[in-house]
């Protein structure tokens, strides 16, 4: 399995600060995706980065991918209380996305 592994497991920051979380995986991928999950709800897609891309931006999100190190990072800038959620990376190979246990982010007002 090439399940993504997120680090840290949990993160607590002040509103307005940046939040960074990392993801490592084990085998080759087609792309890597990041998702958010609010407590008790389904996952919502945030961003997809292809294996030939190194960096991608979407609003306050910045994702990097280093295929040589088999790692990715997600940066959320200028965090808000509404960013409180769990964040999951999902390496994709063919039809399968493999999710890790996620990083739980708490944004304090």
């Amino acid at each position: 399995s090439q399940q993504g592994e997120e680090d840290p497991q949990a993160l607590s920051i002040q509103e307005g600060e940046n939040a960074t979380m990392n993801c490592s995986y084990k085998t080759s991928i087609n792309n890597l995706q990041w998702y958010r999950q609010n407590s008790g709800r389904g996952l919502v897609h945030l961003i997809l980065i292809r294996s030939n891309e190194r960096e991608k931006h979407s609003g306050r999100l910045r994702v990097t991918l280093d295929t040589s190190k088999k790692s990715s990072s997600l940066l959320i800038t200028a965090s808000r209380a509404a960013d409180t959620a769990s964040y999951f990376c999902a390496p994709e190979n063919d039809y399968k996305l493999s999710f890790g246990a996620g990083t739980t982010v708490t944004v304090r007002a």
Binding site: G42, F88, D94, Y95
Partner: protein
């Protein structure tokens, strides 16, 4: 907006019962997936389907089966529920983009408790 609807948000069943979890999507997606989510273990893929009447085993298919008779509907079946199948079950769907899963759209989840 894409909508993935799971039939039940909460279910309580007894050991040995047959359990059906239904999932319907309204975006004509080719791919559909069933995951289970457990604390500390993340989401684990049970089964997926990339076309009507097609199914593929995921990482943890034991104790489960699936049915996809129509494109919009993907059912997860627990033939004989056991307590270790107590979990949150998440259904997802996506377009089939050149043999890849693409962006997944998730339902709200079905929390199953087996007593």
């Amino acid at each position: 907006d894409v909508k993935v609807t799971q039939s039940s948000r909460y279910l309580v069943k007894r050991t040995g019962e047959k359990v059906f979890l239904e999932c319907v999507q309204d975006m004509d997606h080719e791919n559909m997936f069933w995951y289970r989510q457990d604390p500390g273990l993340g989401l684990r893929l049970i089964y997926f389907s990339y076309d009507v009447k097609m199914k593929e085993k995921g990482d943890i298919p034991e104790g489960y089966s699936v049915s996809r008779e129509k494109k919009e509907r993907f059912s997860l079946i627990l033939e004989s529920a056991s307590t270790n199948q107590t979990s949150m079950y998440l259904c997802a769907s996506s377009f089939n983009r050149q043999g890849r899963a693409g962006e997944l759209f998730f339902g709200e989840g079905s929390r199953l408790t087996v007593l």
